[in-house]
Protein backbone atom coordinates (compact mmCIF):
# COMPACT_ATOMS: atom_id res chain seq x y z
CA UNK A 1 0.00 0.00 0.00
CA UNK A 2 2.85 2.35 0.83
CA UNK A 3 4.47 1.56 -2.47
CA UNK A 4 1.27 2.34 -4.34
CA UNK A 5 0.87 5.51 -2.30
CA UNK A 6 4.37 6.62 -3.31
CA UNK A 7 3.43 6.33 -6.98
CA UNK A 8 0.25 8.33 -6.39
CA UNK A 9 2.22 11.00 -4.52
CA UNK A 10 4.70 11.31 -7.37
CA UNK A 11 2.03 11.43 -10.09
CA UNK A 12 0.04 14.06 -8.18
CA UNK A 13 3.17 16.20 -7.96
CA UNK A 14 3.15 16.19 -4.16
CA UNK A 15 6.69 14.90 -4.09
CA UNK A 16 9.43 14.81 -6.69
CA UNK A 17 10.48 11.65 -8.36
CA UNK A 18 13.83 10.35 -7.21
CA UNK A 19 16.09 9.69 -10.15
CA UNK A 20 18.47 6.79 -9.93
CA UNK A 21 22.07 7.88 -9.57
CA UNK A 22 21.15 11.22 -8.11
CA UNK A 23 22.65 11.06 -4.64
CA UNK A 24 21.07 12.83 -1.75
CA UNK A 25 23.25 15.69 -0.66
CA UNK A 26 25.30 15.43 2.52
CA UNK A 27 23.66 13.99 5.57
CA UNK A 28 20.25 15.41 4.74
CA UNK A 29 17.86 12.74 5.60
CA UNK A 30 15.49 11.19 3.17
CA UNK A 31 12.04 12.57 3.13
CA UNK A 32 9.85 9.61 2.60
CA UNK A 33 6.30 9.23 1.43
CA UNK A 34 5.98 6.47 4.03
CA UNK A 35 5.94 9.19 6.69
CA UNK A 36 3.24 11.14 4.85
CA UNK A 37 1.25 7.95 4.44
CA UNK A 38 1.30 7.23 8.18
CA UNK A 39 0.22 10.78 9.06
CA UNK A 40 -2.58 10.81 6.48
CA UNK A 41 -3.91 7.44 7.52
CA UNK A 42 -4.37 8.74 11.02
CA UNK A 43 -5.42 12.33 10.39
CA UNK A 44 -7.11 12.36 6.99
CA UNK A 45 -7.99 8.79 6.08
CA UNK A 46 -10.24 9.92 3.25
CA UNK A 47 -7.51 11.95 1.53
CA UNK A 48 -7.77 11.72 -2.24
CA UNK A 49 -4.28 10.22 -2.56
CA UNK A 50 -5.12 7.47 -0.08
CA UNK A 51 -8.28 6.72 -2.04
CA UNK A 52 -6.26 6.61 -5.25
CA UNK A 53 -3.68 4.34 -3.64
CA UNK A 54 -6.39 1.95 -2.44
CA UNK A 55 -7.96 1.85 -5.88
CA UNK A 56 -4.60 1.19 -7.54
CA UNK A 57 -3.58 -1.44 -5.02
CA UNK A 58 -6.73 -3.46 -5.62
CA UNK A 59 -5.56 -4.26 -9.14
CA UNK A 60 -2.02 -2.97 -9.47
CA UNK A 61 0.08 -5.20 -7.24
CA UNK A 62 -1.54 -8.47 -8.04
CA UNK A 63 -4.38 -8.82 -10.49
CA UNK A 64 -6.33 -11.44 -8.62
CA UNK A 65 -8.76 -12.06 -11.44
CA UNK A 66 -6.03 -12.81 -13.95
CA UNK A 67 -4.24 -14.98 -11.45
CA UNK A 68 -7.41 -16.92 -10.76
CA UNK A 69 -8.01 -17.39 -14.49
CA UNK A 70 -4.48 -18.68 -14.97
CA UNK A 71 -4.76 -21.11 -12.08
CA UNK A 72 -8.00 -22.45 -13.59
CA UNK A 73 -6.35 -22.78 -16.99
CA UNK A 74 -3.30 -24.73 -15.80
CA UNK A 75 -5.13 -26.84 -13.26
CA UNK A 76 -3.91 -30.44 -13.31
CA UNK A 77 -1.14 -29.61 -15.73
CA UNK A 78 1.48 -28.19 -13.36
CA UNK A 79 4.91 -29.81 -13.77
CA UNK A 80 7.10 -29.59 -10.70
CA UNK A 81 10.79 -30.05 -11.47
CA UNK A 82 13.64 -29.20 -9.09
CA UNK A 83 16.46 -27.59 -11.10
CA UNK A 84 20.13 -27.61 -10.25
CA UNK A 85 20.38 -23.96 -11.23
CA UNK A 86 18.13 -20.96 -11.39
CA UNK A 87 15.86 -21.02 -14.42
CA UNK A 88 16.10 -17.90 -16.58
CA UNK A 89 12.50 -16.90 -15.95
CA UNK A 90 13.10 -17.05 -12.18
CA UNK A 91 15.97 -14.60 -12.25
CA UNK A 92 13.89 -11.43 -11.72
CA UNK A 93 12.24 -12.97 -8.68
CA UNK A 94 15.55 -14.16 -7.23
CA UNK A 95 16.99 -10.68 -7.62
CA UNK A 96 14.15 -9.27 -5.55
CA UNK A 97 14.96 -11.40 -2.51
CA UNK A 98 15.95 -9.15 0.37
CA UNK A 99 15.20 -6.02 -1.64
CA UNK A 100 11.47 -5.72 -1.25
CA UNK A 101 10.50 -3.58 1.72
CA UNK A 102 8.30 -5.44 4.17
CA UNK A 103 5.51 -3.53 5.83
CA UNK A 104 3.08 -4.26 8.62
CA UNK A 105 3.15 -7.04 11.15
CA UNK A 106 6.06 -8.89 9.55
CA UNK A 107 8.40 -5.99 10.31
CA UNK A 108 8.67 -6.89 13.97
CA UNK A 109 9.26 -10.56 13.13
CA UNK A 110 12.27 -9.56 11.04
CA UNK A 111 13.60 -7.28 13.76
CA UNK A 112 13.08 -9.98 16.38
CA UNK A 113 15.03 -12.44 14.22
CA UNK A 114 17.95 -10.05 13.95
CA UNK A 115 17.82 -9.31 17.68
CA UNK A 116 17.79 -13.03 18.51
CA UNK A 117 21.13 -13.46 16.80
CA UNK A 118 22.68 -10.78 19.00
CA UNK A 119 21.23 -12.35 22.14
CA UNK A 120 22.44 -15.79 21.11
CA UNK A 121 25.95 -14.50 20.42
CA UNK A 122 26.26 -12.39 23.53
CA UNK A 123 24.56 -14.98 25.70
CA UNK A 124 23.66 -12.14 28.02
CA UNK A 125 21.57 -9.03 28.41
CA UNK A 126 20.30 -7.97 24.98
CA UNK A 127 20.29 -4.36 26.07
CA UNK A 128 23.96 -4.13 26.90
CA UNK A 129 25.84 -2.57 24.00
CA UNK A 130 28.93 -4.58 23.24
Amino acid sequence: MKRTFRQCAVISGMIERRFPGLRKSGRQVTFSTDLVYDVLRRHEPDHILLRAARADASSGLLDLERLAAMLRRIRGRIVHKPLDRISPLAVPVMLEIGREPVYGEAQDRILAEAAEILIAEAGSDPGAPT
Binding site: V29, V36, I97, L111
Partner: protein, 244 residues
Protein backbone atom coordinates in the same frame (compact mmCIF):
# COMPACT_ATOMS: atom_id res chain seq x y z
CA UNK B 1 20.00 -19.68 -1.91
CA UNK B 2 22.83 -20.57 0.46
CA UNK B 3 21.72 -18.00 3.00
CA UNK B 4 20.80 -19.37 6.40
CA UNK B 5 17.06 -20.02 6.33
CA UNK B 6 16.07 -17.56 9.05
CA UNK B 7 12.40 -18.00 8.35
CA UNK B 8 12.40 -21.64 9.32
CA UNK B 9 12.81 -20.82 12.99
CA UNK B 10 9.38 -19.35 13.35
CA UNK B 11 8.66 -20.24 16.95
CA UNK B 12 11.40 -18.66 19.01
CA UNK B 13 11.18 -14.96 18.16
CA UNK B 14 7.42 -14.69 18.01
CA UNK B 15 7.07 -16.53 21.30
CA UNK B 16 9.09 -13.81 22.98
CA UNK B 17 7.00 -10.72 23.61
CA UNK B 18 8.59 -7.55 22.31
CA UNK B 19 9.83 -5.22 25.04
CA UNK B 20 8.44 -1.69 24.95
CA UNK B 21 11.64 -0.37 26.48
CA UNK B 22 15.12 -1.56 27.28
CA UNK B 23 17.71 -0.50 29.84
CA UNK B 24 21.21 0.20 28.56
CA UNK B 25 24.34 1.70 30.07
CA UNK B 26 26.11 4.56 28.31
CA UNK B 27 29.39 5.78 29.82
CA UNK B 28 28.34 4.24 33.14
CA UNK B 29 24.94 5.94 33.22
CA UNK B 30 21.75 3.86 33.09
CA UNK B 31 19.32 4.88 30.34
CA UNK B 32 15.92 3.56 29.37
CA UNK B 33 15.32 3.48 25.63
CA UNK B 34 11.64 3.55 24.77
CA UNK B 35 10.27 2.12 21.53
CA UNK B 36 8.55 5.44 20.87
CA UNK B 37 12.05 6.81 20.21
CA UNK B 38 12.36 8.66 23.51
CA UNK B 39 14.91 8.20 26.26
CA UNK B 40 14.09 8.20 29.97
CA UNK B 41 16.50 8.99 32.82
CA UNK B 42 14.83 7.41 35.79
CA UNK B 43 16.97 9.01 38.53
CA UNK B 44 15.93 12.46 37.34
CA UNK B 45 12.49 11.58 36.00
CA UNK B 46 13.63 13.17 32.78
CA UNK B 47 12.24 12.30 29.36
CA UNK B 48 14.37 13.23 26.35
CA UNK B 49 12.99 13.57 22.83
CA UNK B 50 14.99 14.59 19.77
CA UNK B 51 14.23 16.28 16.46
CA UNK B 52 10.50 16.95 16.70
CA UNK B 53 10.66 19.16 13.57
CA UNK B 54 7.29 20.70 14.35
CA UNK B 55 5.68 22.46 11.35
CA UNK B 56 7.93 20.78 8.81
CA UNK B 57 4.86 20.15 6.65
CA UNK B 58 3.89 23.83 6.57
CA UNK B 59 7.53 24.83 5.96
CA UNK B 60 7.56 22.69 2.83
CA UNK B 61 4.17 24.04 1.77
CA UNK B 62 5.59 27.58 1.85
CA UNK B 63 8.20 26.48 -0.65
CA UNK B 64 5.61 24.94 -2.95
CA UNK B 65 5.72 21.31 -1.85
CA UNK B 66 2.26 20.71 -0.51
CA UNK B 67 2.58 18.05 2.12
CA UNK B 68 -0.47 17.31 4.25
CA UNK B 69 -0.28 19.67 7.24
CA UNK B 70 -1.06 17.20 10.03
CA UNK B 71 2.51 16.42 11.04
CA UNK B 72 2.58 18.71 14.09
CA UNK B 73 -0.67 17.24 15.41
CA UNK B 74 0.60 13.72 14.78
CA UNK B 75 3.93 14.39 16.50
CA UNK B 76 2.34 16.02 19.55
CA UNK B 77 -0.21 13.23 19.83
CA UNK B 78 2.54 10.62 19.95
CA UNK B 79 4.53 12.73 22.38
CA UNK B 80 1.47 13.07 24.64
CA UNK B 81 1.16 9.28 24.72
CA UNK B 82 4.76 8.89 25.86
CA UNK B 83 4.54 11.68 28.42
CA UNK B 84 1.40 10.14 29.89
CA UNK B 85 3.14 6.79 30.09
CA UNK B 86 6.33 7.99 31.84
CA UNK B 87 4.92 11.05 33.65
CA UNK B 88 8.33 12.78 33.73
CA UNK B 89 9.10 15.75 35.98
CA UNK B 90 11.20 17.22 33.18
CA UNK B 91 11.01 16.97 29.40
CA UNK B 92 14.08 17.83 27.34
CA UNK B 93 13.55 18.51 23.62
CA UNK B 94 17.00 17.88 22.19
CA UNK B 95 17.02 20.45 19.41
CA UNK B 96 15.42 20.85 15.98
CA UNK B 97 12.14 20.88 17.87
CA UNK B 98 10.83 23.52 15.46
CA UNK B 99 11.58 23.14 11.78
CA UNK B 100 12.33 26.85 11.26
CA UNK B 101 12.26 30.17 13.15
CA UNK B 102 8.70 30.97 11.98
CA UNK B 103 7.28 27.58 12.91
CA UNK B 104 5.71 28.99 16.08
CA UNK B 105 3.63 31.48 14.08
CA UNK B 106 2.28 28.80 11.79
CA UNK B 107 1.33 26.35 14.54
CA UNK B 108 -2.42 25.82 14.71
CA UNK B 109 -4.11 27.04 17.87
CA UNK B 110 -5.16 23.52 18.80
CA UNK B 111 -1.57 22.31 18.52
CA UNK B 112 -0.28 25.18 20.65
CA UNK B 113 -2.87 24.31 23.29
CA UNK B 114 -1.90 20.67 23.13
CA UNK B 115 1.76 21.56 23.63
CA UNK B 116 0.91 23.87 26.52
CA UNK B 117 -1.09 21.18 28.29
CA UNK B 118 1.82 18.76 27.85
CA UNK B 119 4.10 21.33 29.46
CA UNK B 120 1.90 22.11 32.43
CA UNK B 121 3.00 20.69 35.77
CA UNK B 122 6.52 19.88 34.64
CA UNK B 123 9.78 21.53 33.65
CA UNK B 124 10.35 21.79 29.90
CA UNK B 125 13.73 22.53 28.36
CA UNK B 126 14.30 23.39 24.70
CA UNK B 127 17.88 22.55 23.74
CA UNK B 128 19.03 24.64 20.78
CA UNK B 129 19.37 22.91 17.41
CA UNK B 130 20.57 24.03 14.01
CA UNK B 131 16.96 24.47 12.83
CA UNK B 132 15.92 26.31 15.98
CA UNK B 133 18.80 28.23 17.59
CA UNK B 134 16.04 29.84 19.65
CA UNK B 135 12.53 28.46 20.19
CA UNK B 136 9.64 30.65 18.97
CA UNK B 137 9.04 33.56 21.37
CA UNK B 138 5.44 32.63 22.13
CA UNK B 139 6.38 29.11 23.24
CA UNK B 140 6.90 28.45 26.93
CA UNK B 141 9.82 26.56 28.44
CA UNK B 142 13.48 27.13 29.29
CA UNK B 143 16.14 27.16 26.65
CA UNK B 144 19.78 26.13 26.72
CA UNK B 145 22.59 24.98 24.45
CA UNK B 146 23.38 21.83 26.36
CA UNK B 147 22.74 20.05 29.64
CA UNK B 148 25.24 18.25 31.88
CA UNK B 149 23.55 15.70 34.12
CA UNK B 150 24.94 12.69 36.01
CA UNK B 151 27.98 12.20 33.78
CA UNK B 152 25.91 12.71 30.62
CA UNK B 153 26.04 15.57 28.13
CA UNK B 154 22.78 16.31 26.35
CA UNK B 155 23.24 18.34 23.18
CA UNK B 156 21.72 18.51 19.73
CA UNK B 157 24.63 17.94 17.43
CA UNK B 158 27.12 15.17 18.22
CA UNK B 159 30.75 16.27 18.32
CA UNK B 160 33.41 14.56 16.25
CA UNK B 161 35.95 12.48 18.19
CA UNK B 162 35.59 10.77 21.54
CA UNK B 163 32.75 12.18 23.63
CA UNK B 164 31.88 9.78 26.45
CA UNK B 165 28.44 10.31 27.92
CA UNK B 166 27.09 12.36 25.04
CA UNK B 167 23.40 12.01 24.18
CA UNK B 168 22.65 13.74 20.89
CA UNK B 169 20.16 13.87 18.05
CA UNK B 170 20.60 15.65 14.72
CA UNK B 171 21.59 12.66 12.59
CA UNK B 172 18.16 10.94 12.50
CA UNK B 173 19.58 7.39 12.58
CA UNK B 174 17.72 4.58 10.84
CA UNK B 175 18.59 0.92 10.38
CA UNK B 176 17.92 -1.27 7.38
CA UNK B 177 17.65 -4.95 8.19
CA UNK B 178 17.33 -7.73 5.68
CA UNK B 179 15.89 -11.10 6.63
CA UNK B 180 13.23 -13.57 5.58
CA UNK B 181 13.55 -12.42 1.99
CA UNK B 182 12.55 -8.83 2.69
CA UNK B 183 13.92 -5.65 4.16
CA UNK B 184 12.79 -3.36 6.96
CA UNK B 185 13.88 0.22 7.47
CA UNK B 186 13.11 1.78 10.83
CA UNK B 187 14.34 4.62 13.00
CA UNK B 188 16.73 3.57 15.77
CA UNK B 189 18.97 4.60 18.64
CA UNK B 190 22.66 4.08 17.95
CA UNK B 191 25.12 3.47 20.76
CA UNK B 192 28.57 2.00 21.30
CA UNK B 193 28.23 2.07 25.08
CA UNK B 194 30.13 5.37 25.28
CA UNK B 195 27.68 7.72 23.62
CA UNK B 196 24.24 7.58 22.04
CA UNK B 197 22.49 9.17 19.07
CA UNK B 198 18.71 9.32 19.36
CA UNK B 199 16.19 8.75 16.56
CA UNK B 200 14.21 11.71 15.21
CA UNK B 201 10.74 11.82 16.77
CA UNK B 202 9.00 14.13 14.26
CA UNK B 203 6.32 12.60 12.07
CA UNK B 204 7.96 14.04 8.93
CA UNK B 205 11.57 13.60 10.06
CA UNK B 206 13.29 11.11 7.78
CA UNK B 207 16.08 8.73 8.68
CA UNK B 208 19.77 8.51 7.82
CA UNK B 209 21.18 5.00 7.48
CA UNK B 210 23.53 4.29 10.37
CA UNK B 211 26.05 2.89 7.89
CA UNK B 212 26.47 6.42 6.53
CA UNK B 213 29.92 7.98 6.93
CA UNK B 214 28.45 10.63 9.26
CA UNK B 215 28.33 7.98 12.00
CA UNK B 216 31.95 6.95 11.49
CA UNK B 217 33.05 10.39 12.63
CA UNK B 218 31.55 9.91 16.05
CA UNK B 219 31.72 6.16 16.74
CA UNK B 220 34.94 4.23 16.57
CA UNK B 221 33.71 1.19 18.47
CA UNK B 222 31.15 -1.36 17.35
CA UNK B 223 27.65 0.06 17.34
CA UNK B 224 24.39 -1.48 18.40
CA UNK B 225 21.18 -0.24 16.85
CA UNK B 226 18.17 -0.25 19.12
CA UNK B 227 15.56 -0.42 16.40
CA UNK B 228 12.05 0.97 16.92
CA UNK B 229 9.58 -1.69 15.87
CA UNK B 230 5.80 -1.39 15.81
CA UNK B 231 5.46 -3.36 19.03
CA UNK B 232 8.79 -2.97 20.77
CA UNK B 233 12.45 -2.12 20.62
CA UNK B 234 15.02 -4.55 19.22
CA UNK B 235 18.79 -4.56 19.77
CA UNK B 236 20.53 -5.36 16.49
CA UNK B 237 24.29 -5.39 15.97
CA UNK B 238 25.45 -3.06 13.20
CA UNK B 239 26.80 -6.11 11.42
CA UNK B 240 23.22 -7.02 10.56
CA UNK B 241 22.33 -3.52 9.39
CA UNK B 242 22.51 -3.14 5.63
CA UNK B 243 23.60 0.00 3.80
CA UNK B 244 21.02 1.72 1.57
Amino acid sequence: MTQEPLHERTTAPSARAAAACVGVVVAGAPLILDFSGTLFLESWSMLIVADLHLEKGSAYARRGMFLPPWDTAATLERLANVVNRWRPKTVVALGDSFHDPLAGDRMALADRDRLRSLQSGRAWIWVAGNHDPAPPAAIEGDRTDEIAIGGLRLRHQPRAGACPGEIAGHLHPAARIIAMGGSVRRKCFVSDGERCVMPAFGAYAGGLNLRDAAFDEIFDRAKTAHVLGREGIYAVHERFCAPE
